[in-house]
């Protein structure tokens, strides 16, 4: 008797909820990737007084207020000048950024190319009125109106900077110094169990970049456009690499700690992690391997439901100002977006080192891009694996 009552209550609950959830969204086809309609969201017409607060989702090292390093601070001055208190949330992966922006609680995001289009077509970010951002005119033309930060000529954000994912190693244990990604894929590696890799489906592209150089007969022309055979080859390579991996990382502090303690001695990294590890006294070096690498070209985007749009515009103008942009570029280890930033970097050759205006160099760097079923390299005779297939494969790779 008692159990029957419980079953009935449970069933009633399920039915109610099913009924509530039944009014699903319409799924009419559109013109965007995956047949999606571009959501109509208005851009801001004019910037008024700041609202006192701005909430940001960013990559580690993009929003520094002097707490990590006293000399590294481009937030305090902005807060004093505009009265906008900056609240920053650091995200470890692009997927996490998309998830956070979907909550609608954040005004700004420093989105990479594998998040930006998902945010635009998901209706999570608004188009940007670049007339309201004075520093926009000094941004390198090579970064404006690209397929990851604009749709039909309408910018959805301001370019922040770009760089490559690097190979980091401990100089005391890894000799001779590696020059190729083969160091992290070689099944006979002497560093088995102490190799690390980035814990995100987008890391599959790193394997694809390596295969482009080592297995040309696969015919990969873009690591984000992989058909069935190419995708399978990349997944197999990563499954084989899994035997060598000690830990995967997505939290940058965990990687700093692992390299410092020596649990990891070799693996993919960002320049900022190498800098932090060195500052912590770990004997590490980071290089761009000969095969080229994946990388990022980041864009500051404003949330579609931003509660503090004025402060958000003020921040977007501030973060690409020559001084702030130079500060981030040097701290994070990337090429700045503002051409005037090159004149104010502490290291005078920073822009040359990071190839700020060297489009040929960035031809070798594959910016993170969302993989789509309609191949992003323009092939129409095959279907490519889309991001959800990448996500599922990533679980399989880790076993």
């Amino acid at each position: 008797m008692r159990t029957r009552w419980m079953t009935a209550a449970l069933a009633a609950g399920v039915l109610t909820l099913a009924a509530c959830g039944g009014g699903g969204d319409d799924t009419s086809g559109g013109s965007g990737p995956g047949g999606l309609e571009l959501p109509k969201i208005d851009k801001l017409a004019s910037v008024g007084a700041g609202e006192g607060v701005v909430n940001i989702v960013s990559w580690a090292g993009y929003v520094e207020d002097g707490t990590t390093d006293k000399a590294v601070d481009w937030v305090t001055g902005f807060e004093k000048e505009t009265g906008c208190q900056v609240n920053n949330k650091v995200a470890g992966t692009s997927d996490e950024m998309v998830t956070l922006m979907k909550t609608g609680e954040y005004d700004l995001v420093s989105a990479s190319g594998d998040a930006s289009l998902r945010l635009i077509y998901g209706g999570d970010v608004a188009p940007v009125n670049t007339d309201l951002i004075a520093n926009y005119r000094d941004v390198f033309d090579g970064l404006k109106n690209k397929q990851w930060n604009a749709v039909d000529g309408q910018p959805y954000g301001v370019p922040h900077g770009r760089g490559a994912n690097l190979l980091m190693y401990r100089t005391d244990t890894v000799t001779p110094a590696p020059t190729s990604w083969s160091a992290v894929f070689d099944p006979a590696s002497p560093h088995k169990g102490k190799i690390t890799a980035y814990d995100s489906p987008i890391y599959i592209a790193d394997a694809a970049v390596y295969l482009m150089a080592t297995k040309p007969d696969l015919g990969i022309t873009n690591p984000y456009a992989l058909d069935d055979t190419q995708f399978q080859a990349a997944v197999d390579l990563l499954k084989q690499q899994n035997e060598l991996i000690g830990e995967y990382w997505s939290d940058y502090t965990k990687e700093v700690q692992a390299f410092k303690a020596g649990n990891s001695v070799l693996g993919t990294t960002w320049q900022v992690i190498a800098n932090l590890s060195k500052a912590d006294g770990a004997p590490v070096e980071a290089i761009l391997p000969t095969e080229g690498a994946t990388g990022w070209s980041d864009t500051w985007m404003i949330g579609a439901k931003a509660a503090h749009p004025n402060c958000a515009y003020l921040w977007m103008n501030h973060i690409i100002s020559p001084e702030a942009n130079a500060g981030v570029a040097e701290w994070f280890g990337e090429a700045p977006a503002n051409k005037l930033a090159c004149a104010v970097t502490v290291a005078k050759d920073h822009c040359a080192t990071f190839h700020a205006d060297d489009e040929a160099y960035f031809g070798k760097v594959w910016y993170w891009t969302t993989p789509l079923a309609r191949c992003v390299d323009g092939r129409t005779d095959v279907t490519c694996k889309d991001y959800s297939a990448w996500t599922q494969a990533w679980t399989t790779i880790k076993g």
């Binding site: 609950g13 959830g21 979907k102 489906p201 000690g246 995967y248 649990n263 959800s388 679980t395």
Partner: protein, 273 residues
């Protein structure tokens, strides 16, 4: 009539909690497991689909992870039983009457410390070249053995306490009678003590088993690249933003626990909780 009214007033709040918050969230979980996510924008598509369950059943990796998680939970439970029975016996029967409350407090104190602090402490202990290695010349390193070890450490008090409670109810006279009849310690344990504490052991195992089955933090900290069910749920919510698929995966431990509870119920352990 007034008695029923009073009873209803008394029970309505907890019943509401049980039905709305507890069963309700389970129902939401079950329903959303049948939805899917748009692969590109990450928006939830609210249409009935069995795709999530098909993936879980057909992809080998989910079977492996499930078996691994059950294996970890079972090993942790066995280790806890082996350690907890003698400890609980000592606390309840051997130690002097005055020291007994202090022993119980000693068992409880680790529960006061934060879970994360304990897990990170083990990360330091287990590190290559860390304290364990310099002391014993060997360390488990990060991986599956380390995960089992740390989880067993975490959940041991939850095993000791029910067994201790069960042993306290065991009259000393039974042990004396057994000895008077000529049984040695081993025989007394097998024939008298064990049958009485078996339900307590099962009661404790519900805690250790279910807590281990759902854990994803310890394994992230000391498990190296090991994935358990909890990690898959976490990765699908946090990284992949695929809540429906996470819900479908979360149904696996729910199902395992239901089977486990039904099995345990037959031993009478639920009365020991």
């Amino acid at each position: 009539m007034r008695r029923y009214l009073r009873l209803a007033a008394l029970l309505s709040a907890p019943l509401l909690w049980l039905v709305v918050a507890y069963l309700g969230s389970l129902a939401v979980l079950l329903v959303s497991a049948f939805w899917t996510v748009n692969g590109f924008t990450g928006g939830v598509v609210r249409e009935f689909s069995l795709a999530n369950f098909r993936t879980i059943l057909t992809e080998e990796v989910y079977r492996n992870v499930t078996l691994r998680s059950v294996g970890v939970a079972a090993s942790v439970t066995v280790i806890c039983v082996v350690l907890a029975v003698p400890m609980a016996y000592f606390m309840a029967k051997v130690a002097s009457r005055r020291s007994r409350p202090w022993l119980v407090i000693a068992i409880l104190t680790p529960l006061w410390a934060s879970y994360l602090v304990k897990a990170y402490a083990w990360r330091v202990l287990l590190a290559p070249g860390g304290p364990l290695e310099s002391l014993f010349g060997v360390t488990a390193g990060y991986g599956l053995p380390a995960t089992v070890l740390v989880l067993a450490y975490m959940w041991l008090p939850y095993m000791i306490l029910p067994i201790h409670a069960g042993l306290e109810r065991l009259p000393d006279s039974l042990l004396e009678a057994s000895a008077d009849l000529g049984a040695r310690a081993g025989r007394t344990f097998r024939a008298v003590v064990l049958p009485i504490i078996v339900p307590s052991i099962f009661a404790g195992s519900i805690f250790t088993f279910s807590l281990s089955l759902g854990d994803y933090i310890t394994v992230q900290i000391v498990g190296g690249k090991t994935q358990l069910i909890g990690n898959l749920v976490y990765a699908n919510i946090g990284a992949a933003n695929n809540l429906p698929f996470a819900a479908a995966i979360a149904c696996i431990p729910v199902l395992i626990m239901v089977i486990y509870l039904v099995a345990v119920r037959r031993s009478g352990a639920l009365e020991e909780l």
